[in-house]
Structures are given as structure tokens and as C-alpha cells.
């Protein structure tokens, strides 16, 4: 019979204060296969660990069971002790008698002791059936793929290249730079965007370790952490790139407010279009528009069909590309500009806040005032979100500069007519009619076209809005659940530039944790196929989110599933779905789990 050793931790008084550890130890001695039982004040201490190692050697233990705190914190430590004493680390079983026993039954010591005994019995029952598992070591390709050549992709690429890793940077457009190339200035410092971007583009292009592919498309992604093989089409040919890690930095794009507030790209434009207009004004320093009809005429009001005027709807009902409308290009400075916030954002269709629009509107309003101090700027808002030490001060500065903030409610959205913007001022309780030369719509960032297709290539998830979804909202904000793939920037969620730059550094650092290793170690807890039982139905392939099982034709007409242990995460979904019992979730096999179920409810004494 397999020789099992059981170690019971007092954890000072954390366990021993509420559970009769002596009774648990006595009980453990009665269980079949248990040849050695020891209590420790702290099993995780150096003394405790060395006692485990000594017992493995002296008692010839073939399985080790520790009843203590929780495997979530201490399993690696005890596994390592087993490994050091020459025992396969997967022949170790953890029994949780602190976090899930002594600490939650502090006022019923007898019941807690009985439960601890039951849990030890369950652990021993599983330990008896444990199998030694092998961890595979695979070499790491020490280079990275960065998808997206905007500010964030370039920053991540430079960071990794400066650490010494070769980087392949893939950009869909013909030039690097992304959305920032189209911006005039950046908040809250009002510095020019273009020199910053151009400086970074130059650094990327000059870097000996960065290879840039522009006008490129990602065709295929194969492999796993440390060993990805990516096919990229660029320059009329396809390239096969071997990389160890992948960073997704594809960014986002502003919603085109087609059908909203009379958007025409001329008198009613978006904040992004305004950025380009601002550059024109700054360059020319042109004369002012009259308040009257003259300006309106010059702006080409005739092109506006009556039916185009309107109010808040939803925008972009389809995925069709927005019409190519001519952008307002007048060099005349406007007398009145009205900005409308939350256009197509925080609606039932698009309930999220895009985070950057309030500050962007304030920035552009301040820019207009700087270029043309006489121009009146009105910002029609629902709520102004300018959190933090800098942005709230920025908001205050805008109000002090005389920019008018008018609050509207989504129940009574503003209306844009030929002559004026009509808005019900929530705070004043009255309708205002504001004559305008220019209306600027603040639209949210939305997921990039093609994000969904990229997600499928990489086998990573997107959320309901099409933004990439990280492994854990709080604890793993830059990781995907798939090892070796990371996300940074607005591909994940609308965010300020300094936040996304921080993410770029973070994602580069996360990628470097893989690239700096000589090899990756795959867990032994993976699925395994008994090919003699497999009939090749493919249900395991369907249920696996990580592409670990694949169907292989082993003989003419004979197809079986095989699992790539490096891709497998050990969740066991395939084993649950397998109709023939061919698939085994190792370390959580049917026999092992059933043994625990039986031990939970029945005693088998020797």
C-alpha cells in the first residue's frame, strides 16, 4: 500500500486554538495507507519543511499530505519541499483546515474538529490516487510582436527593444503614429501632439532591434507562450515571425456621429475634426466670422439638407464605414462655438463613459479661446468627469476663462437647428437658444474595426463593446488569460494618454517576464487523452478555449484527439465533456475527485 505521511499544522493558535489538532492527528493515523503523522507548530517554517523532507527520506513516504492554511498561498512551498526530498511535487496534497475550517467555526470546536478530520480523510483519499506528473520545459523565443503602431504600441516596442529584445511592430496603416497624429495639442499641458509622436516614430524607425511592418495585416497566430508563430502580410508578401510574447496595442477610434445633431462634417463636426481645424486656424490667424448670415453662407449651409438636422439618437447603427464628408476647413474664426458632450455615449446602446471627452472638450475650448479670445464657447454637458488633481484644476481653469458650462439631461437633449442650438438648461430651468457658427460633438472612443477578428486570431476575449478583456479587472489588468499575450492602451478601454503610456510600460514589463527566461515550464496539471478510448468526436476541441486539444488522423479513417500540454490550462472542461472517458484531467481525475466525494460522506477504516 502507498505510504502516506500527514503533517498537521497548528499555525500557532490559528488552527490549534479552535480545532483539536491532537484528535485530528490521532484520527489520521487510523486512515488506510497513513504510515506517518506529525504535528508542527508551523509546518511552513524552515523547521517544518525540513521535517517533511526528513520524513520523506527516512519513512520512505510516497505521498505527502499537509493539513494547514490554504493551497492558494502555500502549495508551491510544500511542493518544493517534496521536490527537494526527491518526491515528485504532484504527489503532494493540501488540506485546508484553517481558512475553511478553524477560522470559520471558531465557536464550535467539536464540529470544527470533526470537519477537520473529514477533510484530512478526503485529502488522504485523493493522495492515495495521485500520480507523478511531468513539467515540460520549452525554450523561449526572446522577441516580441507588438500589434499597433500608435503611441502605445511604439512605446511598448521601444521599451522592449531597449531591454535588448528584438521587436516586430505591425501597423495596419501606411504610417506609424496612430490617432495622436491627428490631434492638435494634448491636455492638460496644451503641448503639441505631433512633435511628440514624430519623435517617437523616428526613434522606432531608427532602432536597430525594431522591425516595422506597415500597411500590414495579421493572417495567422499559432503556438503558445514563448513560442508563437505569426504570419503577417505586408509589402505584397507574407512573413512568418517567431516571437515569444505578443502585445495588443491596437487602440480605439472615435464614434462617427452619423445622424446625430445634424452632423455634417462642416458646421457640425466632431472633436477630432476640430483638432485639425484648430491647426488650420493657428496657422492662418484669419479674420473673424460675422455673427450673421455671411458666415453661415460661407460655411456652406446650403449643403445641409433639412432632414439632416436633429437631436440625440444613437449614431452608427451599422458597421458600415462612415460617409466621407468634407471637413469644415474655413480659416475664418467663429464667433460662437457650441460643444455637445456624451454624443452617442452613456446611452442604452453604448452605456459606458468614454472618459477622455470631458477633458478633450475643455482642452479644445481653451485652445479656441487662446487663438481667438473673443469667441464664446459653450459646453453642453450631462456630467463633467475631470477626476484627479490635474484635471479638476483644468476644469476650474476653463470656467475661469469664461467657458460656459450648461447642463442638459438625456431626457431633454439639445436640438441643433439651422440658426441655433436649443437646450434646456437643467440648472436654470429654462430653454436657451444659442446662435452658433460651429457645433462640435464629443463622441466616445469605440472599439477598433477588426478588434473582434484579431481577438479570434489570438484566442483572447473582448467585452460586450468590443474592447479587449483582460484576465482580471483588478489583479491582472494587462494580461490576457492566454499566457504570453498582453494588452495596453485604448484597445482595452478609453483612457488618458498618460494612463495608456503607463500601460505600455507595464505590458512591456509583463512581456519581458516571459522573454527574459530561457525556457517556459508547463504545468503538469493538464489533460491527457487515452487514444485507445478516443473516437475522435471533437467535443473536447469544441469546449476548449485555448486550442489545446486537436484532432489528428493517426491512421486512415481513424481520428483521435491529442492535447498540447503547453496550451492546456488544466481546467478539465474537456474531461467533463468527453463521452467515452478517453480524456483525463490530470491531478483532478474522475477517480481522484470521486474518491474525495466518497471520503466526504463515508469512512473506510483499516
Amino acid at each position: 500500500m502507498t505510504r502516506i505521511g500527514v503533517f498537521i499544522c497548528h499555525c500557532g493558535s490559528n488552527i490549534a486554538g479552535h480545532v483539536d489538532v491532537e484528535a485530528v492527528a490521532e484520527y489520521a493515523r487510523t486512515l488506510p495507507g497513513v504510515v506517518f503523522v506529525q504535528r508542527n507548530m508551523y509546518t511552513c517554517s524552515d523547521a517544518g519543511l525540513s521535517e517533511i523532507k526528513t520524513a520523506i527520506v527516512q519513512q520512505g513516504l510516497e505521498r505527502v499530505v499537509v493539513a494547514a492554511c490554504t493551497p492558494r498561498t502555500h502549495e508551491p512551498l510544500f511542493r518544493q519541499a517534496c521536490r527537494e526530498a526527491g518526491l515528485n511535487p504532484y504527489l503532494f496534497e493540501f488540506v485546508n483546515i484553517r481558512d475553511q475550517c478553524s477560522w470559520v467555526h471558531m465557536h464550535e470546536p467539536e464540529a470544527a474538529t470533526r470537519k477537520a478530520q473529514d477533510l484530512v480523510r478526503m485529502g488522504v483519499a485523493k493522495a492515495r490516487l495521485l500520480e507523478p506528473l511531468e513539467e515540460q520545459e520549452l525554450p523561449v523565443e526572446p522577441s516580441a510582436l507588438v500589434i499597433g503602431g500608435g503611441m502605445i504600441g511604439m512605446t511598448a516596442a521601444l521599451n522592449l527593444a531597449n531591454r535588448g529584445f528584438p521587436v516586430k511592430l505591425v501597423e495596419r496603416e501606411a504610417q506609424l503614429g496612430g490617432l495622436l497624429l491627428r490631434l492638435d495639442r494634448l491636455y492638460p499641458t496644451q503641448e503639441e501632439a505631433r512633435p511628440l509622436v514624430e519623435e517617437r516614430v523616428a526613434a522606432v524607425l531608427a532602432h536597430p532591434r525594431i522591425e516595422v511592418f506597415t500597411s500590414a495585416a495579421l493572417l495567422e497566430v499559432k503556438g503558445f507562450v514563448g513560442n508563437y508563430e505569426v504570419t503577417v502580410a505586408a509589402g505584397g508578401q507574407s512573413h512568418t515571425l517567431k516571437v515569444g510574447a505578443i502585445i495588443v496595442a491596437t487602440g480605439a477610434r472615435p464614434l462617427q456621429p452619423v445622424g446625430l445633431y445634424g452632423y455634417d462634417g462642416q458646421r457640425v463636426i466632431t472633436q477630432l475634426e476640430l483638432e485639425e481645424v484648430l491647426r488650420g486656424w493657428r496657422g492662418v490667424g484669419a479674420g473673424r466670422l460675422g455673427t450673421g448670415k455671411l458666415g453661415v453662407g460661407k460655411l456652406g449651409i446650403g449643403k445641409l439638407g433639412i432632414g439632416k438636422l436633429g437631436d440625440g439618437g444613437t449614431g452608427e447603427q451599422t458597421d458600415n464605414p462612415p460617409p466621407n464628408l468634407p471637413i469644415y476647413q474655413s480659416t475664418n474664426l467663429p464667433t460662437r462655438v457650441v460643444m455637445i458632450q456624451c454624443v452617442g455615449a452613456r446611452t442604452p446602446e453604448r452605456p459606458y463613459c468614454s472618459r477622455i471627452c470631458c477633458t478633450t472638450a475643455i482642452k479644445n475650448a481653451l485652445e479656441i479661446r487662446e487663438i481667438s479670445p473673443e469667441t464664446e464657447v459653450y459646453i453642453l454637458y450631462r456630467d463633467t468627469e475631470t477626476q484627479g488633481t490635474r484635471y479638476e484644476a483644468y476644469y476650474t481653469r476653463a470656467r475661469q476663462a469664461g467657458i460656459q458650462f450648461i447642463r442638459y439631461s438625456p431626457q431633454r437633449p439639445p436640438r441643433v437647428t439651422d440658426e441655433r442650438v436649443v437646450v434646456y438648461d437643467e440648472l436654470l430651468g429654462a430653454n436657451l437658444g444659442i446662435p452658433y457658427d460651429l457645433v462640435v460633438l464629443s463622441t466616445p472612443l469605440v472599439a477598433q474595426d477588426g478588434a473582434q477578428a484579431l481577438a479570434q486570431l489570438l484566442k483572447v476575449p473582448v467585452d460586450e463593446h468590443g474592447f479587449f478583456l483582460e484576465a482580471h479587472a483588478k489583479l491582472r489588468p494587462l494580461d490576457f488569460a492566454t499566457d504570453g499575450v498582453y494588452v495596453a492602451g485604448t484597445a482595452r478601454w478609453p483612457a488618458h494618454l498618460e494612463e495608456t503610456i503607463t500601460q505600455a510600460y507595464g505590458a512591456a514589463a509583463r512581456a519581458a517576464t516571459v522573454l527574459s527566461k530561457e525556457h517556459v515550464v508547463s504545468s503538469g496539471v493538464v489533460a491527457q487523452v487515452n487514444e485507445a478510448l478516443c473516437r475522435g468526436c471533437g467535443r473536447c476541441v469544441e469546449v476548449c478555449e485555448f486550442g489545446a486539444p486537436v484532432l489528428v488522423e493517426v491512421a486512415p479513417g481513424v481520428t483521435v484527439a491529442r492535447v498540447n500540454p503547453v496550451l492546456c490550462k488544466g481546467c478539465g472542461a474537456c474531461a467533463s465533456r468527453c463521452p467515452t472517458g478517453a480524456m483525463t484531467a490530470r491531478h483532478f481525475t474522475d477517480r481522484q475527485v470521486l474518491a474525495m466525494v466518497r471520503a466526504a460522506l463515508s469512512e473506510e477504516m483499516r
Binding site: 490554504t70 493551497p71 492558494r72 485546508n96 484553517r98 481558512d99 475553511q100 475550517c101 477560522w103 470559520v104 467555526h105 471558531m106 465557536h107 464550535e108 464540529a111 470544527a112 470533526r114 470537519k115 473529514d118 477533510l119 478526503m122 476575449p461 484576465a471 488569460a481 496539471v525 469546449v543 478555449e545 485555448f546 490550462k569 488544466g570 481546467c571 478539465g572 472542461a573 474531461a575 467533463s576 465533456r577 484531467a585 483532478f588 474522475d590 477517480r591 475527485v593 470521486l594 474525495m596 466525494v597 466518497r598 466526504a600 460522506l601 463515508s602
Partner: protein, 147 residues
């Protein structure tokens, strides 16, 4: 049903959310009845109808399957498999003459120590009201078959 009926409840907990939630209940010293025995699995999607039925066959008064909230699964969609498993097994319980309320699927995140403790207390009380499993007298002297 007697006043001091102590239900025997088997709980399957996924490693990443619910098991961590159970640990957090402990770290927060939240007290709940000592009626549950947790079996850790990597994912709630690992639980099979066989695991659940074996627990009932051996006299469990209730079985809880716990996993990550929808959308939070560490393995992306494993908890959707758990939904299917629990739904189908519930149908089987009806055939066996067991009340479907003895089997339940609950979502408990790693941050929800209080929720884990509440689910344990509430389900214990629920089973206590239902009384001991009706299967017990028929099966308690059967021995499980092992391969």
C-alpha cells in the same frame, strides 16, 4: 426531521473564484455552519453529473456547485459548462425522486467572502428545512465500485 438534523453538504469550488472566496470568508473570520465539505476543482466546468450523483448516492443531503460569476471565468467559459451540467443533473435528480432544490449552482467571486459564508449558511438552512435525503435508507449499505 429532527431539530438537531445536521445536513451533510458537498461543495465543489473552483480554484480561482469560489475557493478563494471561501478562504476570504476565513480570513475575515465570518462564521457559518460546519455542515459543508469543500472539494477543490480547477474550474466549475470540471464538475460532472457523475460527481454530483455519487454524492447523492452516498447520502449527501445537498450539493453545491460554486464558480466564478458569468464573464469572470478564469478559463473564459468554463462556468457556462457548469450551468449545463447542473441543469442536466437537476433533471436526473427528478427522475431519481430527489427534490431538485438539493442541488444548486452559486456564483461566488474571490472578493466575496461574505457571500460565500452567506451561501453556506443559507443553503444549510434550506436543506435543514427539506430534511434528510430520501435516498439515504436505500443506499447507505451499498458499497461504491472502484475500477
Amino acid at each position: 426531521m429532527t431539530v438537531d438534523f445536521q445536513p451533510r453538504i458537498v461543495v465543489f469550488a473552483c480554484n480561482w473564484c469560489s475557493y478563494a472566496g471561501a478562504d476570504l470568508a476565513g480570513v475575515s473570520r465570518l462564521q457559518y455552519p460546519a455542515t459543508t465539505r469543500v472539494i477543490r476543482v480547477m474550474c466549475s466546468g470540471r464538475v460532472t453529473p457523475g460527481f454530483i450523483l455519487e454524492a447523492f448516492r452516498l447520502g449527501a443531503d445537498g450539493v453545491l456547485v460554486t464558480g466564478c460569476h458569468p464573464g469572470d471565468c478564469h478559463y473564459i467559459s468554463g462556468n457556462q459548462n457548469a450551468v449545463i451540467t447542473v441543469d442536466r443533473t437537476t433533471q436526473l435528480l427528478r427522475l431519481l425522486g430527489l427534490e431538485p432544490g438539493r442541488l444548486r449552482l452559486e456564483w461566488v467571486s474571490a472578493a466575496e467572502g461574505a457571500r460565500f459564508a452567506h451561501v453556506m449558511s443559507e443553503f444549510t438552512e434550506h436543506i435543514r428545512k427539506m430534511g434528510p435525503t430520501p435516498l439515504k435508507p436505500e443506499t447507505c449499505n451499498l458499497k461504491p465500485v472502484t475500477r
